[in-house]
């Protein structure tokens, strides 16, 4: 069977599976639609959370990002896993005990304020749309690369699938499809990694192969890698270039942002008991960790493979570099997609790959007769082309395509659901039409989900520039706006409405302002005197990716100071806080 037919077969099979699950588990009322009737087992919820969390970026881009960043890539590994510790310890059990449907609903009741609810909804919609646009784009890209259809066609198919199971199934349908999607994506991720680990080191477990010796050399993989990348002028693989404070702040912003992301938090509303919420976060992180500990191994092995292909002989020797007309098959395949590009600057017919921006290496390169780096490699290729580079059979390549689509669809569906819940439950029922019937609210939720899919599809087809800043923005915003007020809402009885609103607005505006100033999100026009991300101007040397931490601190300080200057929360709120701090129902305690 040809690769393309095989890919269509595997991807088609997974789609039938997802839709079948959605029909079997469709939502019958708003409780099913928002929180899956609180009947999800902690392990299933853990898997669903893992699929919800691991996006197209985690699946396709992260290993490649680490391959090129080396140690600096650790910020993503620690940042996107450590947040679950905060979630499990500080937020999930208490929000589960609160027992309602959405994150803004908690903020509204705890701070007895519709204004707080609206601010929270705005933050939520903003974070979620920024994020979902990237997912739809991911679906389109995987379709166009593996199935050789137009990005737009891929997008429409992806939108159609999400439409069926998100609109029909609600949270219940999404949860069980996410369980299936997790299985597909983790299998697709680990199989090529195992094969490559065996090829390079003989050890089948990528996490161990990563620290093993390269077969037949007696040199450890990471030492060899450090050695070859530095002799090509690149920065050492196992040490970084970012400043200490910046690495610290980016990691913290990603962790806290993870814990503050509404589509992740809301997953813990679906389990039956408080104790399930705690342990479910453990399962979620366990399932996430399988991919997140494999990714750095894949990154280092892929970087090693890439350099070995380009530089088969001695560095600097006339015949040390790959002859362009002898390039391997995968090189040709991915050249057609533009992910690999070659430009023979010194016209020697060979490929030179080195760091031409490193002034210390310039003299050496000139001596070799090199006139600039000739190879550009898109980081996504490290995962997408891995099976071909390692010479794996076609079914593995088809599986990687299905895995990439599963990762993108599962995250998109989770995001679309929190957007629709924010509209139908927080805005329509909570603020504008409180007397709405359950049936009509469910209908409104489905309509909102359908509308959100259209907007997401449009954003994915024609992404505005700010989608690329999603990491800095979505996480910074979640860290600086939602996380502090939820945390204070549980752990402080003194923080009140005025403090929470002032805190959220301060964190939001400061973080947005800083990122806008350095990266130019919405207000930047050509020639505007900002948006150039000049590192010398960074506050305390913190890049826009890490600034959410300062926004978070400001939020905490403002919320506490303003609260201490104004009236404490009313008595029934104090009772509510007592209530969410204890797992058992208050009525049954005497």
């Amino acid at each position: 069977m040809s690769l393309q037919a095989l890919t269509y077969g595997v991807v088609g099979f997974t789609f039938v599976l997802y839709i079948g699950i959605a029909i079997w588990s469709r939502a019958l009322n708003t409780r099913d639609f928002y929180i899956a009737g609180k009947g999800v087992s902690p392990i299933a919820n853990g898997m669903a959370t893992a699929a919800d969390w691991m996006s197209a970026a985690s699946f396709i881009s992260m290993a490649g990002l680490i391959a090129f960043l080396g140690y600096d890539g650790s910020v993503y590994l620690m940042g996107w896993t450590g947040g679950y510790v905060l979630l499990a310890l500080l937020l999930a059990p208490y929000l589960r005990k609160f027992g309602k449907f959405t994150v803004p609903e908690f903020i509204a009741e705890r701070y007895y304020s519709k204004t707080a609810r609206i601010v929270a909804v705005i933050c939520l919609i903003f974070i979620s749309f920024t994020y979902v646009a990237g997912q739809m784009r991911g679906v389109g890209i995987v379709f166009s690369r593996f199935l050789e259809v137009d990005v737009a066609v891929g997008l429409v198919v992806g939108m159609g699938i999400v439409f069926v199971y998100a609109v029909l199934g609600g949270m219940k349908g999404i949860t069980y499809t996410q369980v299936a999607q997790y299985c597909v994506l983790i299998f697709a991720y680990t199989v090529p990694a195992v094969f490559i680990a065996i090829q390079i080191t003989g050890n089948p477990i990528p996490q161990l192969a990563f620290g093993s010796e390269i077969t037949g050399t007696g040199t450890a993989l990471l030492d060899k890698l450090d050695d070859i990348v530095t002799s090509l002028g690149f920065n050492q693989y196992t040490s970084g270039t970012k400043s200490r404070i910046d690495v610290f702040c980016i990691t913290m912003a990603l962790m806290v942002g993870t814990a503050g992301l509404p589509h992740v938090i809301v997953r813990f509303f679906t389990v039956p008991r408080v104790r399930d919420a705690r342990v479910s976060a453990g399962y979620a992180l366990f399932f996430i960790a399988i991919l997140y500990t494999t990714a750095p191994a894949v990154g280092s092995m892929a970087r090693y493979n890439l350099i070995n292909t380009i530089q088969p002989g001695e560095i600097g020797a006339a015949d040390g570099n790959l002859r362009y007309d002898e390039r391997p098959e995968w090189f040709r395949t991915w050249e057609r997609t533009g992910l690999v590009a070659f430009d023979d600057r010194n016209r020697d017919g060979r490929v030179q790959y080195y760091d031409d921006r490193n002034p210390a290496f310039a003299g050496q390169a000139a001596e070799y007769g090199w006139q600039g780096n000739e190879l550009t490699v898109d980081r996504d290729i490290m995962v997408l082309a891995n099976p071909e580079i390692a010479g794996l059979p076609n079914w593995v390549i088809a599986l990687v395509a299905a895995g990439g689509i599963a990762a993108a669809l599962s995250t998109a569906a989770g995001l679309l659901l929190v957007i629709s819940a924010a509209v139908s439950h927080d805005l329509i029922k909570g603020i504008f039409v409180p007397e709405i019937s359950d049936k009509n609210e469910l209908r409104a939720g489905r309509l909102a989900a359908a509308f959100a899919i259209l907007v997401a599809g449009y954003l994915g087809f024609d992404p505005p520039g700010w989608v690329a800043q999603v990491v800095a923005f979505a996480f910074g915003l979640a860290a600086a706006s939602l996380f502090p007020v939820i945390l204070l809402g549980i752990f402080s009885k003194r923080v009140n409405r005025e403090g929470a609103i002032a805190g959220m607005l301060t964190g939001l505006l400061f973080t947005y302002g800083y990122i806008e100033y350095f990266k130019g999100l919405f207000l930047k026009w050509a020639g505007a005197p900002w948006g150039d991300n000049v590192a010398e101007q960074w506050l305390f040397g913190i890049s826009p990716e890490g600034i959410g931490v300062i926004g978070m601190c400001l939020n905490f300080v403002v919320a506490i100071v303003v609260s201490s200057l104004t009236k404490p929360p009313p008595e029934h709120i104090q009772h509510m806080i007592e209530h969410i701090r204890v797992p058992r129902h208050m009525e049954s305690l005497s």
Partner: protein, 85 residues
């Protein structure tokens, strides 16, 4: 529920939280970031220790930490008789 018991329960929870968060901070920020260079002089197999904490070890410890917290919390719930049925 007597307010004494409730207070004792909350204190026990906060104490456990403090211990867990110290471990969380140490294995990621201290070992993986602040002391990474010092730890990199120690090797386990083909890994430099600081690099291993940053890209592997911290993640394993996070997983263990959440299960540890969930297990200890269940015991504290039972001891203070606030557990769910």
């Amino acid at each position: 529920m007597h307010s004494d018991n409730r207070l004792a329960y909350w204190r026990a929870n906060l104490r456990l939280l403090a211990i867990c968060l110290v471990i969380w901070f140490t294995c990621s920020y201290v070992f993986g970031i602040l002391l990474v260079e010092a730890l990199n002089t120690i090797r386990i197999g083909g890994f430099q220790l600081g690099f291993w904490f940053a890209q592997q070890g911290s993640i394993y410890l996070f997983v263990v930490l959440i299960f540890f917290y969930a297990w200890r919390m269940n015991r504290i719930d039972k001891k203070h008789d606030v557990h769910e049925d």
